[in-house]
Symmetry: C2
Subunit: 347 residues, 2 copies
């Protein structure tokens, strides 16, 4: 049932692929006997020459690989949409690959490079555990998008590019916003991953806000998501918030390091009979569509995904066409104030 | 910068791919002169033999193509997750392709078949406008998943499989549920697509409910989404509901043909200063996670996506391995009652 290719025909005829191609294209420079042998094989296999032309064309098409960590994170949907359009404008093809949580993205990237005539790779998400040594084996340039330079060792800064917000700084900003509303008992929901993960960087920003105000960082206010579920999911935000509510700690605000976690958190708070924001303020991070339509509307850090996506493709092509060496571009996030945060009531 | 392949080496050496392969694998049956010519080309091009082995292996890997209509519809995320696991259990590789709204999925499928040693194709979404004639050119079996047999002409029923709920019947059920709560002024938000689209089928079910109760179907209560935006998106539900609210019609309930539309509808109703469900009841269709976590929790038809996904892969392999001919499997949906619908108040 599998498709016969020009390579198969060449193998079966005992000639080079180029010889088959010459016969298919009617070139006169192939000997009569060889030509007949090839045409016989073509006839016997039912091989359709038109397809071979398409195959060759496709094989020659220049491609950009986009490697996404996880298959189900809607955060990346608008990013992929824009990247696809930009790559298309450059007359390149897009190859989308997903890496599961267990996959080493570097391995998937190396496989991707072997599969196609790849000119560059864009990494979306993940990035925490990539081995720079493995990635350096790639012959095509790599741009990490929505992942900042902190995911890369200083010594590797010249070998890869990054386009992102400053996760740590923006997390500090939104924590300070909660503090400015009078909140001190601020819990955080994050993931317990390596020191280069987005979850870790945003946790560091949360801590920075406390340290800058000479307030103690309370370890018992740091809540890690369930490792056995999708980390940044609505369901995990729900479950982790239930743990906060049953911890016995006084909590007047919760900073969730992603909007999806925050949606789950808000539902858990409502289900516990508490009001948002009167009893507990909630804020997220990312600026996803669902936060803008949730009830109450979510306070969050809006990432400029349009700009990040466009700049990602622009930078990658600048490198491919030798107009630029590797760079690290940081966009500012925007504090988007919704209905889910309010001034802390005095006790 | 592009990767040299074994085909390139064969071309440049003027020999068959199999000859290059034999040299690489140390077979003694290649003449000294030919061997030296090939090794010289390999050396000059910097070709890495290990990669060629990987290439050949990858080319031989059996694959299942999954073709998704649209790139950003989160409805398919859990479906892809399960399908990926099931295909993996069969030791096949998954190739994911997205078709944009403008693409003819049949064309994308035909391209997909040319690219890889494909054994079967699963269509997710779309389906309305596929040309059966084009699809019949495919040499591998096709299963439409989450799309019912209504998308296919009766004469084509033996050529393709479908696994889905009965969209029309389930839409009738949820409309009847609203009627049983006392609602008569029920608006519907759907898309204006061909007669085989999911939006059309669910609209037919809505009409069936009225017809069965000898109630008039009011055309002015049928609201079509904005064609220039993603049809089944939150933002489109929001905008279309604003049109309902400013239409001047008395409306006590809104049936949105997808949950994403319903989320947008609920936010629009809240923003207009109306209460859900006291002023307007809202229900959706699909049973997406966001509906379960929204505030208020959404009443909807839950599609059994776990069963649909698993059965899709099972059926496809049954056909591939000739244990089954094409079939049409329908699963019942489940009315999931949330907090967004309530008995109509008497005037």
């Amino acid at each position: 049932m599998s498709k016969i290719t020009i390579v198969d025909i060449a193998k079966m005829s005992g000639v080079a692929v180029s010889t088959v191609s010459r016969v298919l294209n009617g070139h006169p420079d192939v000997g009569q006997k060889t030509r007949e042998r090839i045409l016989k094989v073509i006839k016997e296999t039912g091989y359709v020459p038109n397809d071979s032309a398409r195959n060759l064309k496709r094989t020659d098409a220049k491609c950009i690989g986009v490697l996404i960590k996880g298959i189900t994170n809607p955060f990346f949907s608008p990013v992929i949409d824009i990247i696809e359009k930009e790559i298309d404008r450059q007359k390149y093809a897009l190859i989308l690959r997903h890496a599961s949580a267990d996959d080493d993205e570097a391995d998937v990237a190396l496989e991707l490079e072997n599969e196609k005539r790849l000119r560059g790779i864009i990494f979306l998400g993940g990035g925490a555990e990539q081995s720079a040594d493995k990635l350096r084996q790639l012959k095509v340039p790599v741009v990490f998008s929505t992942i900042g330079s902190s995911v890369i060792d200083e010594k590797d800064m010249a070998d890869f590019s990054t386009v992102s917000v400053d996760d740590r700084l923006e997390a500090k900003h939104i924590t300070q916003y909660l503090m400015n509303l009078g909140h001190k008992d601020i819990a955080i929901i994050t993931e317990a991953m390596g020191r280069r993960s987005v979850g870790h960087l945003r946790l560091e920003g949360y801590k920075d806000a406390f340290i800058e105000r000479d307030m103690p960082v309370r370890e018992d206010m740091i809540f890690y998501v369930d490792q056995n579920m999708e980390h940044f999911s609505i369901a995990n935000g729900y479950r982790t918030t239930q743990r906060i509510l049953s911890s016995g700690h006084k909590v007047t605000a919760v900073f969730c390091v992603t909007d999806l976690l925050a949606v789950g958190a808000m539902r858990a708070i409502s289900d516990a009979g508490l009001r948002i924001p009167e009893d507990i303020s909630v804020c997220g991070f990312d600026g996803m569509e669902i936060g803008r339509y949730y009830n109450p509307r979510l306070t969050t850090i809006k990432q400029p995904l349009d700009q990040i996506s466009r700049e990602t493709v622009k930078l990658l092509f600048d490198i491919i066409e030798s107009r630029s060496s590797h760079r690290h571009i940081v966009f500012p996030g925007e504090l988007s104030i919704g209905e889910s945060t309010i001034k802390r009531y005095e006790d």
